[in-house]
Symmetry: C2
Subunit: 175 residues, 2 copies
């Protein structure tokens, strides 16, 4: 039986921070404080007065539709999809407008992944599999299989999980 690999979307397949940086730099001059993201949130790296606007953007139609794709994720996930049972599991129901955006984004950039392989949820605790790749400890904590923390500026202080740096490393380990 094929091993089941569970992959997160935001900050693993989709470059949420990249989109935030682009949007911010077009509008503001103050530097981004990557050190403050260590407190557990990407938004914390931006000036206090901008943070509510950035949080609000997550609820707006279109935000998740136009995210850049993480480097090498397409080729590596294509090969993973051929070899394993792949599911994409995204904590998305907090943002009702993200649901269709996320499906369309996935169809555009990962056309080899079908609607059968997508899970949009609020809590990942009821998902099972052999390997979970996610940038949040709160999503990994209940998972019964191997827990791989995908490196991001907001999780650099998290030490409970095996860390993977990028898709090149994931490819080397799984393929």
């Amino acid at each position: 039986m094929k091993k089941r690999i569970i992959v997160d979307m935001d900050e693993v397949m989709a470059d949420v921070l990249g989109a935030m940086e682009l949007w911010y730099k077009e509008r503001y001059a103050a530097p981004i404080d990557y050190d403050r993201m260590k407190e557990g949130s990407l938004v914390k790296g931006f000036p206090e007065e901008v943070q509510p606007i950035m949080r609000q953007r997550l609820f707006e139609p279109g935000f998740f539709r136009h995210l850049p794709v993480m480097a090498n994720s397409q080729e590596v996930l294509k090969a993973i999809n051929d070899k394993y049972e792949l599911f994409i599991v995204s904590a998305a129901t907090e943002f009702p407008n993200s649901l269709k955006d996320k499906m369309e984004w996935l169809n555009d950039h990962f056309p080899f992944i079908s609607w059968r392989q997508l899970v949009l949820c609020g809590d990942k605790k009821l998902v099972t599999g052999d390997v979970m790749i996610d940038d949040h400890g709160r999503n990994l904590v209940h998972f019964p299989g191997e827990k791989w923390l995908y490196h991001a500026p907001h999780n650099v202080l998290v030490t409970e999980y095996e860390r993977v740096m990028d898709w090149e490393e994931i490819g080397k380990r799984l393929l």
Copy 2:
């Protein structure tokens, strides 16, 4: 620890057949053939020339937004939500326009169920829990806990699972 109860939406909480019947009866005179639904599909009960139209309606925005609620499901699920860990798991990603509709429908009729408790997916095989209530054997087959088949005209010939007839019976068993 609270037992985890997994509940399906369509034909368990939401009366899909009821909505189909209403729509059909307003437009056509030929009787509905409930016997043909035994082949495994509600749509089969309608005349052949109407079936593609009914299937197409599932893909249109609004169909899942305006479904009637199954009798007694609100009161019983309110009490289940107080006593157990409840998740609503709906096979929805085949119908991208259903995603937001389903969330809004749930908020309207079951306001005590939060976005954290909702899972919209393509395949339920990666979901775990203690009891799953679903009208399709294909959703129950991989579930590791108790599998309860919610009675519907399309599943009357299915004998592999424990059958529950309605929410009154579910309430009696769980509360």
